[in-house]
Symmetry: D2
């Protein structure tokens, strides 16, 4: 039996866009209201309020009408003034990519780069800030999904705050799946989105903006205004009767509404625990399969995506193909430094259940054996079950 490639898989464990929660699908089928009529404006205010709860913010979050790449570019364009020095922290392709925008808007960009399987050390940040005391903005990607590694943004944030600089955080694929919030890391601008751990469709940016960030953007003459790249245009947009700069992505707002509902109703701590247990279950099984994760250590391994190194002689395409065709399991290949060298198995939102991790381990064991790798799926399952057993 083979699963055809043009049909949806049986189980999809991809690092976003994730298959959304059933309740979110459900919300997508609500009629699209006129954005200038009360039912929508009241709902929009309500969504912003609950997003504020979810992000544990003392200021109002913003919703930008485009997936988080918009938020990241807008953050660079708005916060970085033309005479700013930027310290860009790089532990993978997303950090590296942000450097392009930083160079577009700032005068000088200093990269602090570590190997693609390691995390940034906050002491190194501190050292560099001493070397570049003029640094106005620091940027960091919290979770490099191509690598499955997590940077210690709360520690980095403390260092940056001490220095008096402003921190831009890309938390797109971590927020909602672990204990991270804008004010925990003292972010000036914290960028995330609904299509990863929140289990909603892509198309929106969720933005935490600090009071200091607002002040710096307002003082920045090159900060975009009258533009889709503007953050300033969206201050208080849709709140208290204030018009939107342009039409919002209404169906996606409907979906976000449902996703926030689920997140808060399940309780954030419980959601994070579910992601964490799933990832730990999976990593223990990976080790028992005689495989290794890409991350240099378990301590920096992401609870929302596990990147598994391909063993010698196994090709990415063959492995992904066999998993999908024989088991109906969809996972992702590598990206950037991990292309052709690893596969990525995500534990995000509706996919973050230990039972799915166990199913994935079984399929992975079966496919690897078929492709000639000597492994023991049985041992992997027994090890994984131990993790679940001990989780109470």
């Amino acid at each position: 039996m083979r699963y055809p490639h043009d049909k949806p898989p049986v189980l999809s464990l991809t690092p976003g866009p994730v298959p959304v929660y059933p309740e979110v699908l459900h919300a997508l089928s609500r009629q699209v209201p006129y954005d200038d009529d009360l039912p929508y404006s009241a709902k929009y205010e309500f969504v912003v309020e609950r997003l504020q709860s979810a992000m544990q913010l003392s200021t109002k979050p913003l919703i930008l009408q485009g997936e988080p790449v918009l938020g990241l570019e807008a953050a660079a364009a708005s916060l970085i003034a033309s005479d700013d020095t930027v310290l860009n922290l790089v532990s993978g392709p997303y950090g590296r990519g942000f450097g392009v925008w930083a160079r577009r808007y700032g005068t000088q960009v200093v990269d602090l780069e570590v190997p693609d399987n390691q995390a940034i050390d906050s002491h190194a940040v501190s050292d560099l800030l001493k070397r570049y005391p003029q640094t106005a903005v620091v940027s960091v990607c919290h979770h490099e999904t191509p690598c499955g590694t997590i940077n210690p943004i709360n520690e980095i944030g403390a260092v940056v705050a001490d220095h008096g600089a402003l921190l831009i955080v890309d938390a797109v694929s971590s927020f909602g799946g672990m204990n991270t919030h804008p004010e925990d890391c003292q972010a000036a601008i914290y960028v995330t989105g609904p299509a990863k751990c929140l289990g909603a469709p892509p198309a929106l940016t969720l933005l935490g903006v600090s009071t200091r960030a607002w002040a710096k953007m307002k003082a920045n003459p090159t900060a975009p205004r009258g533009s889709v790249l503007s953050i300033l245009d969206w201050e208080d947009a849709g709140l208290g009767g204030r018009r939107f700069p342009f039409t919002t992505s209404i169906a996606d707002i409907n979906a976000l509404d449902a996703a926030l509902d689920l997140y808060l109703a399940e309780r954030p701590q419980a959601v994070w625990a579910r992601h964490d247990l799933t990832a730990r279950t999976f990593r223990v099984g990976i080790a028992a399969l005689s495989l290794s994760i890409w991350a240099a250590s378990d301590a920096i391994a992401s609870p929302t995506t596990t990147v598994v190194r391909l063993p010698e002689g196994v090709s990415e395409a063959e492995l992904l193909g066999d998993l999908r065709a024989r088991y109906g399991l969809l996972v992702s290949g590598g990206r950037g430094p991990t292309t052709g060298k690893a596969i990525r198995v995500a534990h995000m939102g509706p996919a973050a259940h230990p039972l799915h991790a166990i199913a994935a381990l079984s399929a992975l064991g079966g496919s690897l054996q078929r492709l000639g790798f000597d492994t023991s799926p049985g041992a992997a399952i027994e090890a994984a079950l131990q993790v679940v057993e001990l989780s109470t």
Copy 2:
């Protein structure tokens, strides 16, 4: 981590009503049309035509507006005349239950009963028909879901046809999941429904009625007319402009439409193969877990539901509770003779995937260990993966 009991499970492998296919859910959200307007009547005709294809019938199938218990009672009421002798074949509670209706409508009912883990032998049917040559109607349940056993209805049908009697077949939980059709078993009335292997919601009966059955019902003065129990009222209903006796269950017809679409598009042979592979994968794993199935032999084990005997000292409630709370896995307890003695794991429609069987084996192994049963989940997974591996 515990899954709360008031939230949907992560994976549901219950013997119907099954979680429906996404496309079926989707179809349920279509607006409900007026049943006397062309868009609906054209669709109804189309659904009947495709049901005829799916059931491989040379006559038009009927759709009754109630779940299959309606169809079974209606079949007894319509086909069994008050002076009829009925031979009722009993290999489990559904066969036994049909006897109640048979006795209500016929003059004499002879039960041919086998133990609840075995199947009817067609030679025994032949022998009894010789002893009761006046037998007008024979009734049989194809798949006793409480026991996970399959009766050889095609062989039985041949014997009944030779004798000249009419056969009522309950194929509710087998049709759509294995190679069975009304005319294969020469059924007079063949009763099935959408909520098992077709992956649609309950609420309808799908009925194959042979030409001889129509003749006998029309000649039967006690066959219901002007009643929800009537089959006669529904002859050609909704076809060629003929009105329905009463309002049809429109939302459920929308859903059936989508389910038939999926069944025919995937190709029936492929659907049966998927059910069969899932069940075989699961049974091999069950044996490797040192468990046994309820059915006396693999030869009569159902491809759509596996009934697993509980080992000594493990209670049904504890096992079901642990599977659901720790793994989010919902399976069913026993029914009738298997109550408290077995659990039922279904492989029906959208649940019939080997990957789900493997996940269920893992969870079952984990929960049984926790409840003190000495078993080897690792061996089960390795054995199960072998079945998938060899399935090409």
Copy 3:
């Protein structure tokens, strides 16, 4: 421009099944839960409780798994003992039809019949009960949709109660659209359904059963048991952990849940007022179009369906065809006595808005002019607008 007949209409004002409320469609797309798992059983109990509120019952209502024709037949079969005399009140085809069932189960059936455009007079009921003091059961249809007439069931109920007989009420197309409840009319069995004024799909019967009715049914040896026609089997079904006699129509229960939500949230009084205003607006316009309603007087005209007499020389088929093809408006033709003589325009659930009545009057005026009838749509609209204007 012509609207094609195989596409949905622009506006559907048919006397059920009605296009359902958007929220109900939405609910239909919820995943189908396993009926023996807590999320479903808890929901079922909740639905029963809210149905009890909506029906203003002091006893638990029942939900039967088939559209209301099942409930009506089941009521006859369960309540009418074989030696009972039944007084059957007939003001249209539904009342007449009930007589068939009454004769099937009772020993003597007395029909009290009035012309098909009039209502039953409770004094006549009183007189007949004196002539037939042995009468055990009285039956009445509240709203004859083929005629658009309403019987005074509360008055009739008082007469029947005084006599000590039991009343069966068919309130299928009135409940939810006007102020009527089982205990207001002292009904023994009160039958209604979701596909009319509640704006949900058909497939269920909603049943109010009085304590006296339970007692009589339990004492009735011919009351169905072990049958889809049984009411007794469903006593407390699904409540407090009690199993269902057979699988419920889960998708339709999901829909009913949403429909009850809407009904109670809008507040029943507001829902009835909306139906009443829509019907009054429409009737005033009908008179201004020089048309007349079928009902002998406005006093007995239904607030949920208006039956409009066709003027001389206008054929039903041509009028319905022109309304649908030119305006996209779907209304119904006559039924029974009104076939070919009238059209039926319903004001039920999501269709009960004065704006829809006004649109229908316009289209009706336009089509009638085209078909050669001398009428004044402008005067109709002005009269109709007056009704809305005065409604505050």
Copy 4:
């Protein structure tokens, strides 16, 4: 009876975002696929192909991941080089607004402005091009929704093409509701979106780009690259295995897919005829109500939105409030020059039906009478019905 303001209206005739077609809502509830798996990439290619059919393009259209304001800003940023002279045609606020972007990117911007109730004359364009022969880019808004006026873009396009300049067309609220396509007006960049006449939710830009436009953008050193404002990044994106620059708005693509399906299946000519008939029916009624449209003449009045001048003494807020509260009708107030002076009634996509125009005329007549304006709703309806009657 009053309709509450926090509940959806009965009928919404707003100039976008419009309530979407039921089939589009339906499509929104499809599961969100992974964008790097075949089912999605195949669908995306298919959507682009059908969009190409709908736009009658000889080149591949682009889908940008943001509502059309993104497409318009991106067009300005990409096509206008820093030494370009731009001729910006202004007949309302959207044309005026484009001037802001034109000035941001070009060296000189010449505005050709007409009063806000008139249309641009192509001869005036020709004259100005002679005065400014260096003009590289001309920009025009096809349909100024705030004014309900249409500019003759095909004639303008011919003049611009003769001159050798490139034309940017904003056809956001006209495409799909009338006979307009990028190559009909020889547009370099033609910007439209799904949330107006196509009846889908907002969140996407649909872009026609000519071969000459591609060449100019590629030669433009300041054209955005590596930005959400980039058009260049999206050349052939998602086609033939080419990756997307960033994650697409998958749920909105699902919706667009369904909307294009509907548009092509109904046939574009039929869709335009439906919009045209609805607008003509409405305008005739408006005149009969003794009201006037904002547009200087019927010849330039939009078939997709009618802007109605408020009579003396009637306030916008009171009129909108009465229509919504008493009739459940939602229409829009003025924007820009029409703020406080007019209301806007749209005939777009699922709202473009003469029956809805007639209902709106009735409500408008009723509300205006109540607010003290002497008008004749009856005459309006009779006049409107004549238009429908003559439409065959």
